[in-house]
Amino acid sequence: MSGVLVVTEQRAGASGQDAVWHRMSWETLAAGQQLAAQMGLKAYAAVLGQGIGVLADELARKKLDHVHAVEHALLATYTADGFTAALEQLIRKFNPSIVLFPHTYQVRDFAPKLATRFHQVLVSDTVGFRVESGSPVFIRQLFQGKLNADVKLGGAEPHFASIQAGAFRADQVEDGAAQVVQFSPELTAEIIRAKPLEPFRESARAVDLTSADIIVSVGRGIKEKDNIPIVEELAKALGGELAASRPICDSGWLPMERQVGSSGQTVSPKMYLAVGISGAIQHLVGMKGAKTIVAINKDANAPIFEVADYGIVGDLFEVVPALVEEIKKAKG
């Protein structure tokens, strides 16, 4: 059966708690429904794990041809070996034309391995698609979002692609009624080579950026640690919290707890002012929910300007001090 298979992601609840969806599962499901409709194919979904009946039932209330509940005791905890083997068996049995994944950290860990088993490449981190004479062309970003590329899929089906966070809207998933089909992969403990231990958090967060109304965030453009006070001054003048993009925290110029982005905090303040941040996707996913976004950057083509409401193209070392002065003037 050909069609578009959407592989959803759930997180098994710790010690007996219920499993929860990864929110990107719904975004990818919306993408899968739209792609299937445009290609005139059926859409179906898979959820993997153990004790996932409730999740499969939830998927069954969406507009899908059917839902695969892929269950096995060895899928209770995620491993690349286990998930790859289970999905390989499912795909070989049902022969989808296209397999879509949410572009999560977990998918980055196993989907390239799965695609390799089919002599295919995972077209990863796509932001959209269009259908040209029956075949999908996926759009993905190059050079950290500075350029886009149209990527055509070739070779024998199935094709594999993953969908970037926020590229499709979860609330556009269409409701319907689907049948749940159980699938029990044949897995043995020996195939799983890595032994995952319990997930943990480094330390309690002392800084909660999620409750801040105004965030002033600093990136690579600041050049060195000694320049951080320039931006700190701006945060102070605005009465906002100071935050940073990943490279700043990696370098130890600001503590990790002030990091915004996919590996840091996700914020949606009234105003997010990005200083010297080019706007790699890993950063954008953490802040594009802000009500107003302001960007100061020397590169007019920086991807940050794609999400900014207001922008100043210029040297932050000149613009920021001028801005602090003007704010102080305005505040009297």
């Binding site: 690349a80 950290y105 980055r108 860990d109 390239p112 391995k113 390799t116 088993r117 295919q120 490449v121 995972l122 990863s124 981190d125 993905r140 970003q141 190059l142 979002g145 500075k146 350029l147 886009n148 590329a149 990527v151 055509k152 899929l153 070739g154 080579r193 890595a194 032994k195 995952p196 231990l197 319990e198 997930p199 943990f200 967060r205 605005l238 990943r246 490279p247 990696d250 370098s251 996919s262 590996s263 840091g264 996700t266 105003m271 302001v294 083509n301 991807p303 300007f305 794609e306 999400v307 207001y310 922008g311 100043i312 613009v319 001028a322 801005l323 003007e326 704010i327 003037k329 305005a330």
Partner: protein, 256 residues
């Protein structure tokens, strides 16, 4: 421990990129190039592991002749020797093709550990390491923030989303993709730069490795992204632009 580090040369971060006239790739002739940043962290981690465990660090790179510079820098930082898969037109290969080249070269070396950056700053597919592991039949770990040798192999700290981490143990040999920021990068010393000139660089070609370019996923067109949002750009001198922004913040955003 014999550690192979797979590195890539990419356009420098500050590059002003222009699409080539054919619209298939960027104009490369006026660009400067540097090591892909996550790969620099992978190399550093390999050097640190060698300093603790002893052994050898071999740098592996697929790319055109100009990438020799990136290899020399890796040798200057402390890699013992290097393998250069010299291929002028690497864009003719897709990710699977490049991983096949690297895996073929790696196979002959029989390393205990293969490290590479979690993704490249140019294509950003983020899968070369994982695909190499599959081709070589090895276990892997991705987005790694710490590596520790244990009796049964290695214990690695894997970054999850939203500030979560997970330790994973696996046997050797294995492949790890390294996250930026796992360590502090070293600079090459004068002595290192001098020594690099005498270190072995083995040159291989795709033909010698028996890998032909047969891409399944191909880039049809490269272009500047269309803005989805209308950005109000505030121009003038820094002072003028700042004054305009404050106006907007007061009367449109109403946050001042």
């Amino acid at each position: 421990m014999k550690i192979l580090v797979s590195i890539k040369q990419v356009p420098s971060r500050d590059s002003q990129l222009r699409v080539d006239p054919g619209g298939h790739w960027i104009q490369e002739n006026d660009l400067t190039f540097e090591v892909n940043e996550p790969d620099a962290f992978a190399l550093e981690e390999a050097l640190r592991l060698k300093e603790k465990q002893g052994g050898e660090v071999v740098a592996l790179l697929a790319g055109p002749a100009r990438a020799s510079q990136t290899i020399r820098e890796a040798l200057a930082k402390g890699a013992d020797r290097a393998i250069h898969i010299e291929e002028e037109n690497l864009t003719a290969f897709d990710t699977l093709g490049v991983a096949q080249l690297l895996a073929k070269a790696a196979e002959a070396e029989k390393p205990d550990l293969i490290l590479t950056g979690l993704q490249s700053d140019d294509l950003g597919y983020g899968q070369t390491g994982v695909v190499m592991a599959e081709l070589l039949g090895l276990p892997h770990g991705t987005i790694i923030m710490a590596v520790e040798k244990i009796d049964t192999g290695i214990r690695v700290k894997r970054e999850l989303e939203d500030g979560w981490f997970q330790n994973v143990e696996m046997p050797l040999p294995a492949v790890l993709t390294i996250q930026s920021g796992i360590n502090k990068l070293r600079y090459a010393t004068l002595m290192g730069i001098k020594k690099a000139k005498t270190k072995e660089v083995k040159r291989l070609t795709a033909a010698e490795l028996g890998v032909a370019a047969a891409p399944t996923a191909s880039i049809e067109r490269v272009y500047l992204p269309q803005r989805t949002k209308q950005t109000q750009l505030l121009d003038g001198s820094p002072k003028e632009a700042a004054a305009k922004l404050v106006e907007k913040l007061r009367f449109e955003v109403r946050i001042l």
